[in-house]
Every structure is written in C-alpha cells, then in structure tokens.
C-alpha cells in the first residue's frame, strides 16, 4: 500500500504502517486497494501456512498494539487501536479455511451472498436428513460417528470448492461454500453436544 502521511505534510509517497518521514502510525484501511492478505504481506492464496501466519501476526501486533502507544498522543493511540482491531480480524479470517474462501469470493471477487441463498434441491434434502440425524443422537458414541461423517462431507466439499475456484467458476464455488459453512456449523453443534453428553454420561456412571 502506498499512501501519504496524514501527520506530516510531506507529499512524498511511502509505505504503510508508519510514515517514513515523521514515524507516525498510519491507518490501515481495508478496501479494493488493500486486502487482508496485503496486511500480512501474503499473496492471495487458499493455503495459508499456520506457522508463518502466527509469526507474522506476532510481528504486526508487536508493532501496532495500543499498549505500545500507552504514552503516545490520543490520535496515534486510537489509530493503533483501530489497526490492531483490523489485524485481529484479518488474523481470524486467515486462520480459518471457510473464512478465507468466503473472503476471496465475497470481498475480492465480489460474489454477493444474496444470490446464492437458494440451495439446490439435492442439498436441501441432505440438509434435512443431517438435521434429523443430529436430533436423534443420544450418546457420545453416536456423536463421534456423526462427526466423522461430517468431516468426510467437509473434506469433499472443500475439494469441490477448490475445483470450482481453479476453473474460475465463482458462482458454483460460492454455492459449495454455503454448503461448507453449513457443515462447519453442524460440526460445531455436534462437538458441543458430544461435550454435554460426556458430562451427562460421567454423572450417570457416578
């Protein structure tokens, strides 16, 4: 990102984060010129290496956390705070496959979610079956089986999304992503259920 500093009046263009001339912190403004990948210095990619992500996150936070500006002027402190919030948000997106795909499709490719609200009939029926299966679960053992099934579904959907993205078939990719999100939510629900059932089963054994 190239922009001019808001604090010093120098019209020279310079790098993000800090002004080259006066050293004051600059606001990170996400938009068409700056993606969350840019904030982390990454190329737009479906695969983010967790280790590199964590390291970069730590570097950015060390530079930008408002605690580093505890004695700075009010302006710099509030910019640092807003920037850290942006970095935190970007980090949480880059830490999750579902969120990365969503970001690429909606924020970079501009595929609106409204258009893909309607599921294809096949998946609608599958959804109903999955819900029925979920509500019939009464033991941790069944939870584990169901979770395994969902994980399989998750991985298959993931492959489909990648295929569609590589074919630049954005609409279909977005549809698959809605499916992926649904499966992800279901996995979260079943994990929670498994946890609650585990507690129940433990108390019963006592």
């Amino acid at each position: 990102m190239i922009k001019s500093c808001a604090s010093c009046t120098d019209s020279k263009r310079h790098q993000k984060m800090f002004c080259d001339d006066c050293g004051k912190v600059q606001e990170i403004k996400l938009g068409s010129n700056l993606s969350i990948f840019d904030v982390f210095g990454f190329d737009v990619s479906l695969d983010i290496d967790k280790e590199i992500l964590d390291k970069k996150y730590s570097e950015l936070i060390t530079l930008m956390h408002p605690d580093k500006f505890a004695h700075a002027t009010g302006d710099e402190k509030s910019i640092a705070e807003a920037n850290t919030a942006t970095i935190n948000k970007a980090y949480s997106i880059l830490s999750s496959e579902v969120e990365i795909y969503d970001y690429i499709l909606s924020d970079i490719k501009g595929i609106s979610n409204d258009k893909i609200l309607e599921d294809d009939e096949e998946f609608l029926i599958e959804k109903i079956h999955l819900y029925e299966e979920l509500s019939s679960i009464t033991s941790t053992e069944k939870c584990i089986n169901f979770r395994n099934k969902l994980n399989g579904l998750y991985n298959n959907t993931l492959i489909d999304i990648r295929k569609n993205i590589s074919k630049k078939s954005w609409g279909n990719a977005a549809k698959e992503l809605a499916k992926l999100r649904f499966v992800q939510n279901l996995i979260n629900i079943v994990e929670k259920k498994e946890y609650m059932l585990e507690i129940e089963e433990k108390t019963l054994r006592k």
Binding site: D54, K55, Y57, S58, E59, I61, T62, H65, P66, D67, K68, A70, H71, E81, A82, T84, A85, T86, N88, K89, Y91, S92, Y195, I199
Partner: protein
Amino acid sequence: MKLYQISEPQSTVGELVIGIDLGTTNSLIGFYDGEKVQIVPDKYNQKGVVPSIMTFDSNSRQFKVGHEAMNDLEAVKSVKRLIGKGLKDTILDLYNIDYKESSDEVIKLNLREKSLSPVEISAEILKYLKKNAEEYTGKKVRKAVITVPAHFDDAARIATKDAAKIAGIEILRILNEPTAAAIAYGLNNNHNNKPILVYDLGGGTFDVSILKRNHGIMVVMATGGDNQLGGDDFDHAILNMLRKKVGQESIKTTSDQLKIANYVKTYLSNHTAWTGEFLSENISITRTEIIKACQQLIDRTLQTTRDVLFSAKLKPQEIGQVILAGGATRMPIIQSSIEKIFSKKPLINIDPDQVVAIGATLQAQALTHRGDVLVDVVPLSLGIELLGGIVETIIARNTPIPAIAKKYYTTYKDNQRGFKIHIVQGEGDTVESCRSLARIELSDLPEKPAGEVKLEVVFKVNADGILFVSATELDSGKSCNLEVKPTYGLTENDLEKLLQKQQDA
C-alpha cells in the same frame, strides 16, 4: 509496632509504576522499584493485604477503610459484587445494609448519614491504597494498571474506571485478573510452549483463562468464569456445616460466625482436624467434613474449568502448566482436584494473595517501558436485540481485543423515522438470558419505503475490554452521535458531580 525500613528511592525522576488488585475481599497495591515489584505493606498487614471493607465513622466524620473498618458491624463488604449492577441483578439482602434509596439502575447503600454507590465505595478503597503507596514511596501516584475479573461485563469495567477517576487515578489499562497472574509467573520462562491455564478463585469471583505464547507475544485463547462464586461462598458453606453440627441451622449470620468459618477453612488447609468453640459449644471438625461441605462449589469451579478447555479446543493433557491464584486456592482439596484433572501439580509458589497485584504492576512496568505485548479477549459475547427478542451476536466471546465488527440493517416499516438499538451481553440466544448494556436510538431518518434506509452499526472493543458503538445512516452518511451509556452505574452527570466534590474537598 515495627517500623518499616524505607530504602532510598531508586530515582526521583519519572512517575511511580503502579499496579492495583481491587479485590472482592482484599485489595493490594504494588510498585516497581527499578528492579522488582514490591507490594506496599499496610500498617496492619506486612503482606499489604487490605480488606476491601469501608465504613463511615460518625465521630471523626471520616471514611475508614481496611483493618480499621473491620470491627464496625455496619461496614460495607464485598462491594465488588455490586459494582456495575442494578437492583434486579443482585441479592442485596445478603449485605445486611439499608439500600432503600436504590433504583433499578443504580444501587445506593445507606451507611449512617451517607448514601453511597458501589463506585464511590470502591473509590474510597482505591484512595486508601493510593495514600499507602504515596506514604511508603514518597512519590505521587497518578497512573495505574487496575485488575478486574476476566468475565466482568462492560458495565462493571466502566464502573471500575469511574471509581479510579474519583480516586484521582488515571487507568493505564484494565487488566484481567487471571492474565495478571500469568504475567506474574513470567510466561517468557515457559520453554515447552504449551498453553497455560490459570485457575483464579478470588474472594467473590472465579475465573479461568488459558494463555499461550505465539512467537514474541502472549495471547489469551479462552476465558470463562462465575462472578457469583468465590472464597466467601466457601466460608458460607463451612458456616452452614458448623451450624448443623451445633443444631442451630436457622440462626442469623454474623460476621463473627463467618470469621470462625474462615478460620476453620484456613486452619484445615494445614491440619487434618480442628477442635474449638462455636456458638458456645465445643466441636471437632475434620478436613474431610469441610471437603464434603464445599464439594458442590468445587465441582462448579471444575466444570467451568472444563468448559473453558472445551472453548479453547484443548484436552487437559495439552496444558503445559496450571497456575493458581486467589487465597482460596490454598485449600488442599482444590490443589488435589486440579492435579487430578491435569495430571500435574499446579503452581502456587507465588503468594496467591499477591500474585494478581504483582502481575498488574509488571504490566504497568511493561506499558511504561515497552515490554512484551499481551492480547486478551472479549469475555462475554456482545450482541443486538432483533425483532422477537432474539439476540444476534456481533462480537463473539473469546474474540481477541481490540476488536471491530460491522453489521448492516435496514428499516422494516415504510417511512420509519427512528431506529432503536438494544445492546446486550451474554451467551444466551434471547434477550432475557443476556444482560442489557445500553439502548441507543437513531432518529430523523429520511422517510423512505421499508428496507430502503440502510444503517451501519459498528461495535468496537478496546484493549480494556470496553465497548463503543456507533451507527450511521449510509445514504446521507449522517452519523448520529451515539455514546453507549451503560444502563447500570453512574451517569456522566453523576460522575461530574462526584469529581467536582473531589476537587472541592
């Protein structure tokens, strides 16, 4: 009485670096002496443990805080349980004090001729600590890091900030208590890089936090707790058991009885049996008996511990170290219960009464002298009430802070001129199961068909865990000046008046 040896001040230049643990039962103040943290001793307690008790002395017409207030039966205790709360959130009858002047929004306690809010009472405790530190070091106290329970909600955090303001202290940072304990143990020395769990059982609150080191920074992975569970509850449970023992179950609770219960609890941490007098009867109590009396409370803390592990997606064996904070963790049963879950001995080598104040002071030092960065999280989900009383989460709990989130809404009626936003905090799906934080309203919207006026609502949480909300009508770009005023606590006006009073005094 022994006089304290006051060493030469290390340097007279610069301000004192201060950390304060404003606890439910006890409060402490620490400072950095250039090499290490020192807890300021109190003239009645070498370790610097000041009971969070305050009273108004009619004769001297002065407030008395700490040990000097302890023998006054009307003194106010555990006020932290009331801070940032309204009448319906709390059982005031337990307080043995007149609260007739309270409203749904603000609690007022009548203490002799004074009528005081929990914020003002907390401010008196802070003033006492501040004075202690100034007398001990010979320097002025201006800025400090103050700790709060990790799961303190927005209203309670703002109320704590207000209390500091009234006491003439600028808050450098509000720090979560379990995070402070982790800092005190110096997580930099944690070489195996596994997450650390802090089990913090204070006098009136219970917190669990899991932290880990991520390259050069510390991040909180998850936090949880119970702000109506603490060491005090253990005293009450033991007291009930003692009464049963002497067949006087329905007798009214007095502070003397509670003192005995607390003594028995402490005594049985180091011995296996206690014999003594209770309500004029000689009785014997074994450690096993108090374990039984406290089992339910212990189980509650262990369940919360497991819940937080679940939130962090961790198994007990993945935790590298467990840190204990809060005086109540001296109970051997708590230590052995923790050891059983994690298959390792928890750390308690830093005095659990002092560990939070030490961590707060170290954090103040880090802020002043550019130390390690620590990223904490939102303790309780923040959301908005939708039609039908359903809550939409805007910022989920355990989101790293500072945090920002935006949501877009449209009008639902033709020519709708106003838009009300009800901000709530909590984990429930419905408004009833959450805490109401504030209501804000956008007015004078342009008259347009339903759905054509678009509003952007922005939630921001700063590093202190305090929420700011703004709402903008997108077409005109008109940003209504909205400020979150907590439904509970002091209004800006009340605060101004109190600050004025302070300056006049």
